[in-house]
């Protein structure tokens, strides 16, 4: 059953996943082409100065990409379920409704984490070629809230999409917006190094929100 469930989820998200990977990779390629270009036309040490002393984040272009990916994966997974109330089909499958919902989220999360792992490795590791490890380490620290925002956005997209009533969809969107905003409070590289763990804690609070949405649907909120 896991296999069948994942098969359906994969059919839904594969296009979005490939697209996300493509967009992320192109952005990373652009970032490093720009670094290379700057190293060639100006001086390497000036670029370093920009990063180390003037707090320039050379991969700022990537800032909202994980967020976009989180929303995209969420929409591609949950919109087809609510279109024509297809979620009825999913809930009618011969397995516990809660398990069915959690399996969907588990798949989406796996998919998202895989994408994030690949992209963060592609984004951070080539930096070692151009910069000392301190820069690479703090850069890795800098992207954590961006990816966390994507993760939060994925769960909240699920909550908003499956919620049957428009009124609550609007409320949850506002709350989600406020939540996501918290991940972009500081532009300083490494500013979140003491905060990302509690933020992951809040994200885990919304991670099983699908159970609440499914419950509302099953009880006839339409």
């Amino acid at each position: 059953m896991w296999k069948s469930m994942f098969y359906k989820e994969w059919i839904k998200v594969r296009l979005a996943s490939i697209l996300s990977l493509a967009v992320g990779t192109v952005a990373i390629l652009g970032i490093y082409l720009n670094v290379r270009h700057t190293f060639i036309i100006t001086n390497a040490h000036e670029f370093w100065d920009g990063i180390i002393n003037q707090r320039h984040i050379y991969f700022k272009l990537f800032k909202y990409i994980p967020l976009g990916i989180g929303i995209l994966i969420g929409l591609s997974q949950f919109l087809p379920e609510v279109k024509d109330k297809r979620i009825k089909l999913t809930l009618h499958l011969p397995l516990n409704e809660e398990k069915a919902g959690l399996k969907m989220v588990a798949f989406g999360l796996t998919c998202l984490l895989t994408l994030y792992s690949i992209l963060s490795a592609l984004l951070i590791l080539p930096g070692r070629y151009y910069f000392p490890y301190e820069v690479v380490a703090l850069s890795a620290n800098t992207i954590i809230p961006w990816f966390s925002a994507g993760l939060a956005a994925y769960f909240i997209t699920g909550l908003i999409t499956i919620e049957p009533l428009w009124k609550y969809k609007v409320f949850y969107t506002l709350l989600g917006f406020a939540f996501i905003n918290l991940f972009y409070q500081s532009d300083l590289a490494g500013a979140y190094q003491y905060a990302w763990l509690p933020f992951l804690g809040i994200i885990s609070l919304v991670s099983i929100s699908i159970l609440f949405s499914i419950y509302r649907f099953r009880k006839g909120e339409m």
Partner: protein
Amino acid sequence: MENIVECRNLTHYYGDKMVYEDLNFNIKKGSILGLLGKNGTGKTTTINILNGYLTPRSGECIILGENSKNLSPYVKSQIGYLIENHVQYAFMNIYQIEKFYSGFYPNWKRDAYYDLMAKLKVTPKQKISTMSCGQRSQVALGLILAQDPQLLVLDDFTMGLDPGYRRLFIDYLRNYAKAEGKTVFTTSHIIQDMERLIDECIVFDYNKVLVYMPVQEFMTTFKQFDFEVTNPNVEFDKGGLVENYEKMDNSIELFSYSTEKEVKSYLASQGIEYSNFKQVPMTLEDAFIGLTGKY
């Protein structure tokens, strides 16, 4: 005979608007029950309660021994469910959707599905979303046949089907149900051809059940009488002998469970003058409209 479904004292409201109160019905094993009613009379509400997508204000539905509020995976595997408009995972093609569903049902009858698909003029790679409504209905039906459930729940399956597909669907379904001893619960607001399918019928009107009996019994006891009256302002009291009537100038269509003789004596007792009195043969659709009215 054993009941597959027993619904007791179902009462539901949307806000303050009553859908129905104290609805009771059973579905016997191997029978085909049709729930007929105009749009908005509570057909889909009943289906939603039956499948556990809606908890009624009061009352309960017992399906294969379980309360529909909490159906176990086993019981769900024994219910084939066709959603209104033949909704399926339209982002899949017919190959993918079979592969998907087959993983859930141990007794999956792959051939039943592909036999039906072979009759459609579609390619295995064609997405369901690009198919016609008729073709989609066959995909949905094929999946239910492959699932091989004890009970088939079909929500308004005739909607959007052209006459050919409607006939095809109905005949295929009836043959299958009768041959395999399946129980069917179907709703419809299109009554045409329905008598080819169903054994028993429930007719819903807003807030109430008008009929709950075998179709055969309904068709033989419910009658239409046409006649002309001299006084065009004549009115009949509904509820007694007269179930319903339609008036066009001097022509009256009167619907009743009573015999011709009883109706004639009723008219005489009311002092109504009439001519050209005759009983008119009805289809189920005629009877449905006669009973529920045109509006």
